[in-house]
Amino acid sequence: MQIAVLAVQGAFIEHEYMLSRLGVESFELRQKSDLDKPFDGLIIPGGESTVQGKLIRELDMFDTLKSRISDGLPVFGTCAGLILLAKEIKNDSRVHLASMDITAVRNAYGRQLGSFFTEGFFKGVGKIPMTFIRAPFIESVRGDVEVLATCGGNIVAARQKNQLVTSFHSELNDDLSVHKYFLDMIGR
């Protein structure tokens, strides 16, 4: 199995490290030609969604990523990755890959002083560590989106068929369970 990690900006190395701990190979997507390599799943990491959204367009990766996701490519977005996949963003008129039927709120907990760590239940997995950094949350979901975790009444993890999103950073803690969940979606 080969996982592509979008590496235009943000905490992509942390995801690669989690995958290597799980014995899974990965490579970085930095420009269009990287998309020619075969891959079975895609991770969109944390970082700034404004930067990543702009760079995937300007580096001409947008169309390929969007069509591969709509064709069923398993994708896992954390934090900024969640924003990139959301069809609607409540406090931003600009959307990006817009492939998942969720309405997200950017920087929903405020500035850095609002960043926090907690533990919470993730459906089908159990209690896991959750690190929120200037994080978004999901205000509402539609269609066949399944809510996987909530925190203080807000949705912080969800899945729609081939798409998994978390507003927290499972790549920043030692716990591998959300990455394992994603690999199970790919069907290893």
Partner: protein, 291 residues
Amino acid sequence: MSENRYELNKNLAQMLKGGVIMDVTTPEQARIAEAAGACAVMALERIPADIRAAGGVSRMSDPKMIKGIQEAVSIPVMAKCRIGHFAEAQILQAIEIDYIDESEVLSPADDKYHIDKTKFDVPFVCGAKDLGEALRRINEGAAMIRTKGEPGTGDVVQAVRHMRMMQSEIRRIGSMSEDELFDAAKLLQVPYELVLYVHEHKKLPVVNFAAGGVATPADAALMMQLGAEGVFVGSGIFKSGNPEKRAAAIVKAVTNFTDAKLLAELSEDLGEAMVGINEQEIELLMAERGK
């Protein structure tokens, strides 16, 4: 500051990696920077080149001006306080700044002590010329490090010198035998635990950016290839002929810093770069402030 808060603060720096942090002086410039792909902005009244030209005492910016920039953009907003000026830092924390830069660009307020950054909940980034300075700042609570470079010059030579020095010292510590680490800690004037971390991980315990004198996409690519995890660009953008285009080009250069063909395209037609001053022509070496 709790252990947990320090982790969260180091984590925010991780999210900035592979990105460009740009100096801005107005909400309008902040919007231009965000649209060009900045991963954060540094709000300050005067960019380093103008601070250098104006002379005199240079202080923390007006909180109102910083708040205007916070309202203008959705990306993290940083601001500078003077070295050792913990009251300025308290004020910046009160307006919920995302990162404080305890910066040698401003006039130092204390010629002996840096701020005890462990007393704060907001994160700090500090400049360093070598590994010892970097680890001393981390020991004081800095959650992110940047090279000092020589701000406001458009001359990258000092940032290169500082980054090379840090990386070479990290390699040296990494290759030491464990019983040599105690003496290394003594010579660096830092706690043994931090030296042990560098030995085991072959990197700083926090994210390390390049700063000071970066003016072109090639400068940014150079710093990334030398081991920087991202880049601060101060005067280089808004002192140039075409800030939007130059800013966007530097952002792309940081993402694809080893692709020379793309870097060549990005370097075309950027208009006038900031004029710059050579290291030998300046009287004030900001990098010598705070050690």
